[in-house]
């Protein structure tokens, strides 16, 4: 199979997913990049314009390993500014869906559930803006078959809302944003000022 065939297939796959159909309208003006908070504050490698180009050129593996595929938080600042009115977050989500189907894992440190303490109340599932959490009947060691929260790592954006709302501190995101770490940070910021005053 020639290289060209693979290239077209990837773009077609993305266009086949709802939201991905406007992909080829992009003429690389860079408005989205200039508007994007993630590019400027989080990761300079993040670049929606280049991701769209990678998809058009069929660079599948590069697109999957690119942070743009995983970091978009769907704030849609770019959509309002895009002169071609491409719903860019939908295109990125389409790429992400293909990546997840392909067995790729997000580069984010997604939320983890402590099955030993989870009471299955479902508050986290209600709070999640990405619909990444569901309640599932699971066989938990020492607790038997009970209902606990489960996170879909393909959807989780590691925002930490679930961690904040959980009453039994059973769900949390990566270590440096755990409850303890944040409280310790707060103390570090506040204490010296308190001493000076």
């Amino acid at each position: 199979m020639s290289h060209t065939t693979t290239m077209t297939t990837f773009a077609d796959d993305v266009k086949a997913i709802p939201g991905g159909e406007n992909l080829e309208l992009c003429y690389s003006c860079g408005t989205c990049v200039s508007k994007c908070m993630i590019q400027q504050k989080v990761d300079p490698e993040y670049n929606p314009r280049r991701l769209l180009r990678m998809v058009m050129e069929g660079m599948k593996q590069e697109a999957f390993s690119n942070p743009t595929t995983w970091l978009c938080s769907e704030c849609d600042l770019c959509y309002q500014a895009c002169p071609q009115q491409i719903h860019i977050s939908s295109v990125i989500n389409a790429v992400k869906a293909i990546a997840v189907d392909d067995g790729k894992e997000t580069i984010l440190h997604t939320a983890k559930v402590n099955q030993q303490t989870c009471v299955g109340c479902g508050l986290c599932a209600e709070a999640c803006p990405y619909e990444a959490i569901s309640l599932v009947q699971t066989k938990v060691p020492f607790r038997g078959l009970i209902q606990v929260a489960e996170v879909d790592p393909g959807r989780c954006m590691a925002c930490g809302l679930c961690s904040a709302i959980c009453r039994s501190t059973s769900i949390g995101v990566q270590i440096e944003y755990s409850d303890e770490a944040i409280i310790e940070n707060l103390w570090n910021w506040m204490l010296p000022q308190g001493v000076e005053e």
Binding site: Y27, C29, T31, C32, S34, K35, P44, P83, Q85
Partner: protein
């Protein structure tokens, strides 16, 4: 302009609006509103004493409202004709101007608008373009940040006859800016505002940047662009020169401009496409190259002139490639940007072409039109039979050639008719006929091709300009297609009357092809649209009647698509081949009563000889009309 004013055979009417255009090629009657200037044109010598005496100041629109003018004014010092006028909206009636004018007595406050009628042979429309208002794009802060201006405003500031006598200053502190940026495509190539390209802004920003650099080589000029388009002769060289002069070109469309509220310096946020990095650069002043849009009153002019508009709102030309200076109405021509965004060389070329086209008309005693014009048989028109005209013919005509006055029968203005046949096919009373394509002629053609073994035949209606050419090309290219095809020519798909289709099926035709131009290629502006609507209605109806899919086929085939013509015909043949003969016959018999029912109001279609006789009477009628005209 001065030359034009001095030429004795050019009658320049400044401050005059076109109110109404009637008539047709060679015989237009134009109603003009000569607006009151409150100054007598034959007495004013342009000395300007009135303006000096006038105490009222209002913004001057010619200086993009950056400088004042008096209520007694001329818009600019080079105005032609050099006659002052008084702006009554601003005037306080102090009559200082009357005093200043003195002995000349050129000022007349009693003047009123005058309606004048003129007979003209041809009309050239050169109403130009309007500007997009960038203040709706909040991200660029135009009208909020004083140092964000449009390039038109910059042109006035940079002009030696402008308000600052050519000293480019920034509005916030009146200092000379050192770092400047141009932003291209403000409101153009943007689906939110104007999706199309404004044609000349790339060259225009390069020109302005070079001007700035020439005046002061120390200034830093950056042009933000999405693509630089330099397609004409010498343009790329000009672009090269700009790069050699050290003008920065940054690819990337700015998403935001922010301002330092103390210094009013500006920060332009854009991605540097080459680096793939978001940048934020500081400038003293930013110029927006706003989109070029149709004039605000273009819609009004379009209805006054009865000239259609393209999707963007520009006046629509007869043909985008072959006749860009002609309007679809004979005798009306376009020059410049009223027809679409255009730079100076193209506008000059189009203007000269339009003048040449107009002079052809002015130098002819007689003007030839298409022979296939439509003619009304007044006895059959619903205005006569039922007392009120249905008006479908008026709606169908892309040229405004059908006229219905009061309760009189519809009338065709022959000089305006281009012969598409849309009104003929739309007329529910069959009261309109097209010369050389009369219903009788076409029906007898249909009968002739279906005389023998009709169930095997495919009747193909082709439009003259596209599908007929497509079929020709299929032939000359030796594309093989079914020998059962029987092609019938009409001028436009708009002429393909439902009656023809019914008659074909009544006679037991195997299949019918309804083909014409692609919508954008139609020779008759919107003829194809009328035809396509009808085809859609027919397809739905035949579906409901239970006709096998593919026995009625609609296909838009251009003259270059010979292969498509052959393919469509072969596909239709395949549909017929797939049907068992008994099933086909049963279906034809089942549909026949329905077709007969629909053809009932068409009871006595004349035979060929009668049709010829009718055609003769029509030709006589036409000649009579001609004499009247």
């Amino acid at each position: 302009m001065v030359d034009a004013a001095r030429q004795p055979r050019i009658d320049l009417r400044a401050f005059t609006e076109v109110e109404k255009v009637e008539g047709f090629v060679g015989n237009f009657e134009v109603t003009l509103r000569e607006k009151a200037k409150y100054v007598l044109a034959d007495r004013c010598n342009g000395c300007g004493e009135c303006a000096r005496a006038c105490p009222i100041e209002v913004p001057n629109y010619f200086d993009m409202n950056l400088a004042p003018r008096k209520a007694a004014y001329i818009p600019m010092s080079q105005s032609v004709p050099l006659i002052y006028s008084i702006d009554m909206d601003a005037c306080i009636h102090c009559y200082k101007c009357v005093e200043a004018c003195g002995q000349l007595e050129a000022i007349d406050f009693g003047q009123e608008d005058k309606l004048v009628k003129e007979d003209v042979g041809a009309i050239i429309v050169a109403t130009g373009f309007g500007h997009f208002d960038p203040s709706v794009m909040e991200e660029y802060g135009y009208a909020h940040y004083p140092n964000v201006i449009t390039s038109m405003e910059m042109e006035r500031l940079n002009n030696s006859a402008g308000p600052t006598a050519g000293n480019l200053i920034r509005p916030s502190d009146h200092q000379n800016p050192q770092k400047l940026a141009f932003i291209n495509c403000v409101g153009s190539r943007d689906k939110r505002y104007n999706p199309s390209c404004s044609n000349f802004c790339c060259m225009y920003s390069i020109k302005n940047a070079i001007l700035l650099k020439q005046m002061n080589p120390d200034v830093e000029v950056t042009i933000y662009y999405m693509d630089i388009r330099t397609p004409s002769k010498g343009y790329e060289e000009f672009y090269d020169r700009a790069r050699e002069m050290g003008i920065h070109f940054q690819q990337g469309r700015p998403s935001l401009i922010t301002e330092d509220p103390d210094t009013h310096d500006l920060f332009v946020h854009a991605e540097d496409i080459a680096l793939g990095k978001a940048t934020e650069k500081k400038y003293d002043m930013v110029m927006l190259n706003q989109a070029v849009i149709p004039q605000p009153d273009q819609d009004h002019m379009s209805s006054v002139l009865n000239v259609a508009q393209s999707p963007g709102g520009w006046f629509m030309e007869y043909h985008p490639k072959l006749r860009p200076m002609d309007s679809p109405t004979d005798g009306i021509f376009f020059a410049g940007a009223c027809q679409g965004p255009k730079d100076i060389p193209s506008s000059v070329a189009q203007g000269s072409a339009a003048a040449a086209r107009a002079s052809r008309i002015l130098h002819s005693e007689e003007w030839e039109i298409e022979p296939t014009v439509a003619v009304v048989w007044p006895d059959r028109c619903s205005a006569t039979t039922r007392g009120k005209a249905c008006g479908l013919c008026v709606k169908a005509c892309p040229y405004g050639a059908v006229k219905i006055e009061g309760d009189k029968a519809a009338e065709i203005i022959t000089a305006k008719c281009h012969g598409c046949g849309g009104c003929v096919a739309e007329c529910p009373e069959d009261a309109i006929t097209q010369l050389h394509y009369t219903d009788a002629q076409l029906l007898s053609q249909i009968r002739a091709v279906l005389a023998d073994k009709p169930e095997e035949k495919i009747v193909a209606f082709r439009c003259h300009w596209c599908s007929y050419g497509g079929a020709d090309l299929a032939g000359t290219s030796h594309f093989e297609y079914t020998a059962n095809e029987r092609g019938l020519r009409v001028m436009c798909s708009a002429r393909m009357d439902t009656d023809f289709i019914y008659e074909a099926y009544r006679l037991g035709a195997g299949a019918v092809l309804y083909s014409g131009c692609h919508p954008q290629d139609c020779h008759y502006i919107t003829g194809q649209v009328i035809g396509a609507k009808r085809a859609k209605r027919l397809t739905k109806m035949f579906d409901r009647m239970g006709m096998t899919d593919g026995r009625f086929r609609v296909a838009w085939i251009s003259a270059a698509e010979g292969d498509k013509y052959a393919r469509v015909l072969n596909e239709m043949q395949a549909v017929l081949d797939a049907m068992p003969p008994e099933a086909l016959k049963a279906e034809i018999d089942k549909l026949r009563p329905e077709m007969e029912k629909r053809l009932k109001k068409f009871p006595n279609v004349p035979g060929v000889s009668e049709a010829m006789a009718f055609s003769d009477t029509l030709t006589e009628a036409i000649n009579e009309q001609k004499e009247v005209a």
